[in-house]
């Protein structure tokens, strides 16, 4: 699986080389595949209906034999202008709709939105609600990372079994979400100033049991991946990303930390009650696909540690600030940008209020959309088979990319 290194493009931050000029499109020519054929390169349209594209995502790839020479991502198959809909609904009305952004991590989407509105209108959150939010966000991280590893192995050809192992664990966590919020994936659980319902002692005990059993699954799963010869051959030295380019391109989350950049919003911003918790930030060395993959495995261990501390510390009390108006909620004129460390990276909401019940501007900063900026840089010089693995390691969900 070695690739001649001469074919790789050197990653220079902020500059685009001749790859953009390869196909100057004639504006008068009709759009179509034939207009983009060039020289010896063959253009292949990968997706949108492809099991490894994680949804409806298309890449226009120019191939020299089996080597990728150019790659243009094509978006928009799931575009429904989420932001416009957000501007035409009340603040609370957008809350269930944020579940549909990254439908794997509805709890963190809820939190990011609630956090931004709380910033916008200066709402305080009770202590128990903050703990519940951390518990749910870390459970979300566990199930997102576990299923990502399963999907990635699936992309590499290990069909079925590893993914089902991951889904078995994910389903236990989704059962917890269902018993708490009423829905497995579309939780709609957070509210401005707290959470919608309280968790019972029984629920917390069950969650603790599942978290306590999780390391056993991780041990088993890491054995599958860490020293697996095929996996190492497919991922090490594939899709290397330099720290400078990663910072310039706004890459966030595990993908940034795989390049060795120590930047975790849980530590930097210290939102919620994260400063009260002891946890480490795993960092990678090489920035290749293997590091990105291991970053997820290591982060799950840290999430378990956070969860165990949260179960011990969680106090009794109200879960929602009683002063917050539910009906006719109108934040003061102003704007706010709030962000959290979602499992896929920095998820932010930018809101402008003009004093009316609807936001004047409602913007989602989607981590997986921005993480795709450097997909071409990662894939150049690699084979088509590697594109699937690299794309899998970026961790995208099209509901969030296309919005």
């Amino acid at each position: 699986m070695t690739v001649s290194s001469g074919a790789k493009r050197s990653a220079v931050e902020g500059s685009r080389d001749e790859t953009f000029k390869l196909t100057p499109r004639d504006p008068s020519a009709p759009l179509g595949m034939t207009s983009r054929l060039e020289g010896e390169l063959m253009e292949v349209s990968m997706g949108p209906q492809h099991p490894s594209t994680h949804g409806v995502f298309r890449m226009n790839v120019a191939l020299d034999g089996e080597i990728v020479r150019k790659l243009k991502p094509v978006f928009g198959y799931l575009h429904r202008n989420h932001e416009k809909i957000g501007e035409n609904t009340s603040y609370l009305g957008s809350m269930p709709y944020t579940d549909r952004l990254d439908y794997f991590c509805s709890m963190t989407n809820n939190w990011a939105y609630a956090l931004s509105v709380e910033k916008l209108s200066g709402i305080e959150v009770p202590e128990r609600a903050e703990y519940l939010r951390i518990i749910l966000a870390e459970l979300t991280r566990l199930q997102n990372h576990a299923s990502l590893l399963g999907f990635l192995l699936s992309d590499m050809g290990a069909w079925g079994t590893p993914l089902m192992y991951a889904f078995r664990e994910r389903e236990k966590i989704l059962d917890l979400f269902e018993s708490l919020s009423g829905s497995r994936m579309m939780c709609d659980y957070m509210r401005f100033g707290g959470c919608r319902v309280d968790a019972t002692a029984d629920w917390l005990a069950r969650a603790k049991m599942i978290v306590d059993a999780f390391p056993k699954f991780l041990d088993e799963f890491e054995k599958l991946i860490v020293e697996n010869e095929i996996l190492i051959a497919r991922t090490q030295e594939v899709g290397k990303l330099s720290a400078d380019l990663a910072i310039s391109a706004g890459i966030t989350g595990p993908m940034l930390r795989a390049c060795g950049v120590n930047y975790d919003i849980r530590k930097v911003d210290g939102y919620g009650f994260y400063p009260r918790f002891k946890f480490r930030i795993p960092l990678g060395d090489h920035g290749d696909t293997y590091d990105r993959l291991m970053m997820r495995a290591l982060e799950m261990r840290e999430s378990i540690s956070i969860l165990k501390q949260a179960f011990e510390q969680i106090p009794e009390g109200p879960v929602i600030n009683p002063k917050v108006k539910i009906r006719a909620f109108r934040p003061a004129v102003g704007e706010a940008y709030g962000r959290i460390e979602a499992p896929k990276g920095e998820l932010g909401f930018y809101l402008i209020s003009d004093g009316s019940p609807n936001p004047y501007r409602y913007r989602v900063r989607p981590p997986s959309f921005i993480n795709l900026t450097i997909l071409e840089d990662l894939c150049l010089g690699h084979t088509v088979a590697d594109v699937m693995v690299i794309l899998g390691s970026v961790d995208i969900v099209m509901g969030e990319v296309d919005r």
Binding site: N81, G250, Y263, G348
Partner: protein, 222 residues
């Protein structure tokens, strides 16, 4: 601790004489005020913010557009008047008309220094379909897709962007859906059957929009 916006403004003005920087106050509780940068110096200002050793804003997190329609702001201003030989201060309500414009907003953070956000904005002169702003993609690569998205949904063209195409809507699409006066077609799939209320809705849709005169001639490519 990060410098205050006034200090950043002074730093830019000493390093880049001629650059016009205004502070846009944010009256809300979030305390996030922003810097309005003039379009001619925007790229230089951005480069300075990125490379300045005390700021080092190397991470451009969020790039987005805002559409402001024409609006009238009522202000209470204190006016000095001479009434019967005596100088008096009187309150007067003035109405200021602010012309509509499009805005691009950048949220900047520093990964090396772990501070932020510094918010910079650029404004177009009007809401014309050919509104232009300088692209900051050469400074921060993360603006690449996000500026394309602004072009797609708001119709601001970014000069100096390496690949200015639509990104979420299809290439043949006309109009800019995130603009506040956008009116969506009744159905993308077929022509509406021309009778009764459907006809009325269709008529509404075909009404000319003054801001978009000539917009249908613009293709995604230059």
């Amino acid at each position: 601790m990060m410098e205050s916006l006034e200090q950043i403004k002074a730093r830019i003005e000493t390093n880049l004489p001629g650059a016009r920087i205004d502070i846009v106050p944010n009256p809300g509780p979030s305390q996030q005020s922003s810097l309005l940068v003039d379009n001619e110096h925007a790229v230089d200002v951005a480069r300075l913010l990125r490379t300045d050793p005390t700021l080092q804003l190397d991470f451009c997190s969020n790039v987005t557009g805002v559409d402001w329609l024409d609006r009238v702001v009522t202000k209470k201003v204190k006016v000095k008047r001479v009434v019967e030989g005596e100088e008096k201060e009187e309150e007067e309500t003035q109405q200021e008309k602010i012309l509509g414009h499009l805005e691009a907003v950048y949220h900047l953070y520093s990964i090396t220094q772990k501070h932020g956000p510094v918010i910079i904005r650029m404004r177009t002169a009007d809401r014309a379909a050919e509104a232009r702003l300088p692209s900051l993609t050469p400074i921060w690569r993360s603006a690449e897709f996000q500026e394309r998205e602004i072009f797609d949904l708001y119709g601001i063209r970014f000069d100096g962007h390496p690949d200015m195409r639509r990104i979420l809507m299809w290439d043949e699409f006309k109009d800019y859906p995130m603009r506040k006066d956008y009116r969506e077609p009744d159905d993308y799939e077929y022509e509406p059957t021309p009778h009764d209320d459907v006809l009325e809705k269709a008529k509404q849709h075909y009404a000319p929009r003054p801001q978009l005169d000539g917009a249908e001639n613009i293709t995604a490519q230059k």
